[in-house]
Symmetry: C2
Subunit: 317 residues, 2 copies
């Protein structure tokens, strides 16, 4: 079985290795690649039975879904699928398949790395060493993860893995999640309600998917509750954050914000946030290891193959 027409939105050639492009080629009689500025997306979708989207580059709209009456499959090139209208697609019986967990380890390692980078002041340290300047060294206010309170908001795959690593570093690890997680609690990851978690954690990592329940999860009230001096790490979607409330808090210089989804920020927001020394921005690299890239492509293609064999995998809606 193959698809008659696959429409791909927002895929640059570099997104898949040649091996995976070849596998994809054999799954559709006709494959059309379009970018976010393409004028003919709706038109091309008319005959499509498969829609694949890199939803951060080109979100899937209801209009797109409506434009494709024969659509049988939507594949998103991400774990997130909030930008693919999952509920609307469900009303039309179109499964959306995502790529869960491909970057669990990549993101968890990044979270710890970015925290250590900050608390050990590695960027400035490297610069000083190159200059052979050791005068400031005794004054470096660097500290350890061990014995600090480490709070994880959202204990899915990534949150759980970050919590496990924090435990290994000897932190006191707490979590808040919509549902209690007995397995995690047995490992020593203790539950706190969200208000206490925010108020008592020295390190906070938010690891929630973006959906209507989590939109602006970190609203003004919650942002104000973050413990003075805490480091807040957001490797999840920007939509979880009320940035104007965050900015007010950053201006007080009593917390640190570390995030990596800057490519989805407007240039003005990047500029504003970059003015704060207590705001550390990264490109979207947390999930982007070599290993994660391979996991991701493998699952993306095998989801399509599985659907065509009538054993769909990773259906989210």
């Amino acid at each position: 079985m193959t698809f008659k027409k696959i429409v791909m939105l927002g895929f640059s050639d570099a997104l898949l290795d040649s091996e995976h492009w070849q596998r994809l080629d054999s799954l559709g009689n006709n494959i059309v690649k379009l970018g976010k500025d393409s004028q003919n997306i709706v038109e091309e979708l008319r005959g499509a039975d498969c829609l694949l989207s890199n939803i951060f580059a080109v979100p899937i709209t209801r209009e797109f879904i409506d434009a494709a009456p024969n659509l049988r499959y939507i594949g998103v090139y991400s774990t997130a699928y909030g930008k693919a209208e999952p509920e609307y697609a469900k009303t039309k019986n179109i499964p959306i398949c995502n790529i869960p967990g491909f970057s669990t380890e990549a993101v968890a390692e990044f979270a710890i790395g970015a925290i250590l980078e900050y608390i050990r002041d590695l960027e400035r340290s490297k610069q000083l060493a190159r200059e052979g300047d050791f005068s400031e060294v005794p004054k470096f206010p660097i500290y350890e993860i061990m014995r600090k309170n480490f709070g994880v908001i959202g204990l899915g795959r990534i949150g759980y893995r970050i919590a496990e690593l924090a435990l290994a570093f000897g932190a006191n690890v707490y979590y808040w999640s919509r549902n209690r997680k007995p397995e995690a609690e047995q490992k020593g990851i203790k539950y706190k309600d969200i208000d206490r978690l925010l108020a008592e954690s020295d390190f906070l990592s938010i690891n929630l998917p973006w959906n209507k329940d989590t939109n602006l999860f970190m609203n003004e009230v919650k942002i104000r509750k973050i413990k003075p001096g805490a480091i807040f790490v957001n490797l999840s979607p920007n939509e979880l954050i009320d940035f104007s409330a965050l900015e007010s808090r950053l201006a007080k210089n009593d917390m640190v914000y570390i995030a990596d989804h800057t490519d989805e920020m407007l240039p003005d927001l990047i500029k504003t946030l970059s003015n704060y020394k207590n705001c550390v921005l990264y490109p979207p690299l947390a999930f982007a290891t070599k290993e994660a890239r391979l996991n991701k492509q493998e699952t993306f293609i095998s989801n399509i193959e599985s659907f065509l064999r009538d054993v769909p995998t990773n259906v989210v809606n």
Copy 2:
């Protein structure tokens, strides 16, 4: 009991907090602080019964020991004591007390942090994000610790803690040490002979003290054996390394050297090594967390107090 005369070499005021200076004040009738350029060290030592040295600033020589016929105690402000003539002091029945383990966690966290900083290219990433430039992001050759071979040379306190953290990151962890460590092996830290460890590890951390047996431990033969592409982390003394052999290897650009004892390098060596992108130099910060600073001062002073109460602690010779 107190000492009649304490001579302190290489202690800046900032090294101890005021609380610890006060405790020290009550332990000697006369306390003389001298720096490495002081002309009167030998003279001042004549009446000293206690010699305290920050040996990285002012090493203790045989001449110093000979100059103080009444010397009863040597305290080094470090874990390392190779620069305090431990064997010579022993022939004169002078105990040397050091400060073991104060920085175990600090150094272990730094080792992991510096590795993550490198394999995730954090310094460059931060710069690109500030500039809002995401064009290079897909090409970043970043990767994970998980499932790589992680080799630890020397399984003392620090080496063991680094090995534990590497295990938590899902690495395959191996060690070489003069003596087998059954407890570590039960935890999954496997033994390899040094040649295989060098040849097969993707990450290597050397955690040996400096002494006559370990001087230039990483000689030309061993440096040549390091696996192509490996990251070699040295947060131990520079004296373990044959730098001319290291430079030849760095020039081939097929390994990475990360180290933090740059303050003890000659400016020319810093300059030479800084030319290699595959050499990452830090100031001496691995051990220098707030927590380690406090641990260190506490043990340094309590060693002296314990000696004066005839229950000496942390005698190394």
